[in-house]
């Protein structure tokens, strides 16, 4: 209507907001799988390592899956989310209703997760797996997780109390943000429309967030237990045994990127076969 043509973001605001809703669900589903996998560390380092091998067994297509179903959705969701949050005018003091608090907490947890997820992916995954980048990232505390030493490296990375605390906050924020997001998505897409349906859906969603939060916290606790003392030694021994067996059986290719280097890695580095992939991932198994 106006003389100037509105910008791309203004013209496609509706579609962008619906995609924001959709990418949140896609990434949230991934987070559920991620935290469930991590919680398998409670069943022992062997069970956890097996799950990580299963994920990494997907092979060369794994980085594609990572980018299409995890990284791109969350990047889109995060930056659109920041733009949405920037426009909020919170008024919880004057209107202290439950839904209004959830509105504000949704945005606060979103902001925390924005920074936390960037930090977390750097801390465990390293963001990128180019050699030159890892040389920079590792001394700065990045890329700590090695998928072929899954339990021990995850456990070691979480020994610092502050780091574990940030992770615990991140897990709780994610659990709330995802399930509250499911509830608002149900309204956005028009799945639950009437008050009774909305309040029932809310109960289910809040229960879901409590369950997911517990799963996440127990995974952190489990990893911290494995990352110290005798448990750490035992986990390393298990991982080495599993690794050697798999290399021998031809189930995995020896790959120094996916192993922790300070440990005996005789077979690993020497046997390194020319691997074409540049970006090795570990995300799903952290």
């Amino acid at each position: 209507m106006a003389a100037t043509e509105p910008s791309f973001f203004v013209r496609h605001e509706f579609l962008i907001r619906r995609l924001h809703s959709l990418t949140g669900i896609v990434f949230g589903a991934y987070v559920c799988v991620h935290l469930l996998t991590n919680a398998s560390i409670l069943a022992g380092s062997e069970a956890f390592q097996n799950n990580v091998y299963r994920i990494h067994g997907i092979g060369a297509i794994l980085p594609v899956i990572e980018w299409v179903f995890i990284f791109l959705p969350i990047l889109f969701h995060a930056f659109v989310g920041i733009a949405i949050t920037a426009g909020m005018i919170p008024n919880n003091q004057n209107y202290p209703y439950g839904a209004n608090w959830r509105y504000t907490v949704q945005r606060i947890t979103g902001l925390y997760l924005f920074f936390f997820v960037f930090y977390h992916v750097f801390h465990m995954h390293g963001w990128f797996h180019f050699d030159w980048w890892l040389k920079i990232a590792e001394p700065w505390g990045g890329a700590q997780f090695k998928p072929y030493n899954a339990a021990s490296t995850a456990g070691l990375a979480l020994q610092n109390t502050l780091v574990a605390f940030l992770y615990a906050l991140g897990v709780l924020a994610a659990a709330f943000h995802f399930f509250n997001g499911i509830w608002t998505a149900g309204i956005t897409w028009g799945i639950w429309t009437r008050p009774l349906a909305q309040s029932r859906a809310l109960n289910v969603c809040l229960a879901g967030s409590v369950v997911l939060g517990c799963i996440g916290l127990s995974a952190i606790w489990g990893a911290r237990q494995v990352g110290r003392g005798e448990a750490l030694e035992a986990a390393r021994a298990t991982e080495d045994r599993m690794y050697d067996f798999r290399v021998e059986a031809g189930l995995v290719q020896a790959d120094s990127h996916k192993r922790s280097e300070d440990e005996e890695s005789g077979s690993g580095e020497i046997a390194a076969t020319p691997v074409v992939e540049t970006r090795r991932s570990s995300d799903s198994g952290e």
Binding site: M88, I187, R194
Partner: protein, 280 residues
């Protein structure tokens, strides 16, 4: 009505005042002799009669808007003790029981202030224009009786028709921001309104207009332009701005199921979007 423990002689009313659009606002306190069964309108009448602050200094009478005095017109909507509502139905005895100290009055914060407690709510009505919240009838031919309307649909539509466009829903909405352009010296009313309307383009419609969209899309004749209304809802500033804080439904004085309207509009726009893609 209830005689609270000590007998009250008087009470204070703190009012956020502003002498005109774009002027600085300031607080003034007035002392009102207590009598039972006052409402905020009668308090404002008493202030207008004396026009003196609690300290006794002379001031201008406080301006406010009102009309029906029975909570059906929406004109006297203001922020009372931090919460938006109609001042005609805001009873002093109840307000003092909730917060014994004083009563605080502010103009609505999401609309341009005209003077004191009077605001310009025309953005609400421009939002209704954006979604064409009416039944388009452009001739005088006798087309006979309209189609029968099922009881269930009547019951669904009637509450939505109670909307008085008072602005409570958008005042309490954390996604709805104030849009105000200031009148230039010697600017005509038309040009000023035009600039205000342009500034509102792409800004959130608000719950009331979304709900009215559902009201008229469900009308047998009004529904003939349902697609146009859904286009307006999916345009910039449309339903996607909603953040699901659900304050609108909590503060609505007519208890209109606004969040149900919003969710239904969400469903309709979802299908509308898919249809537009595949029915090209």
């Amino acid at each position: 009505m209830t005689a609270t423990a000590p007998k009250r002689e008087s009470f204070d009313v703190r009012i956020l005042r502003q002498s005109g659009p774009g002027e600085e606002s300031r607080w003034e306190t007035f002392r009102i002799p207590y009598e039972p069964n006052l409402n905020v309108i009668s308090v404002l009448q008493k202030i207008a009669a004396t026009a003196r602050t609690a300290e006794g200094t002379a001031t201008t009478p406080v301006a406010w808007d009102c009309n029906c005095l029975e909570e059906v017109c929406g004109a006297c909507t203001m922020v009372i003790n931090g919460r938006v509502r109609q001042s005609c139905s805001a009873l002093v005895d109840k307000l003092l029981a909730e917060s014994p100290g004083e009563i605080e009055l502010q103009p609505m914060s999401k609309f341009p202030v005209v003077r004191d407690l009077v605001v310009d709510r025309s953005r609400m009505f421009r939002a209704l224009e954006r979604v064409q919240a009416w039944v388009p009838v452009d001739d005088y031919y006798d087309r006979g009786g309209g189609p029968n309307v099922p009881q269930e649909l009547q019951e669904q539509r009637y509450p939505l028709s109670e909307c008085m466009t008072c602005g409570c829903c958008v005042e309490a909405c954390p996604q709805y921001g104030k849009v105000e352009v200031h009148r230039r010296p010697n600017e005509s009313q038309e040009s000023y309104e035009q600039r205000q309307a342009e500034a509102e383009e792409g800004q959130f419609l608000g719950a009331a207009a979304i709900s009215q969209t559902m009201l008229f899309n469900d009308h047998a004749t009004g529904g003939m332009i349902a697609a146009e209304r859904l286009d307006a809802l999916t345009a910039s500033g449309g339903i996607q701005e909603c953040g699901n804080a659900q304050n609108c439904v909590a503060v609505c004085p007519k208890e209109i199921p606004l969040t149900t309207s919003i969710a239904r509009a969400g469903r309709k726009t979802t299908w509308h979007m898919i249809k537009k893609w595949f029915d090209r």
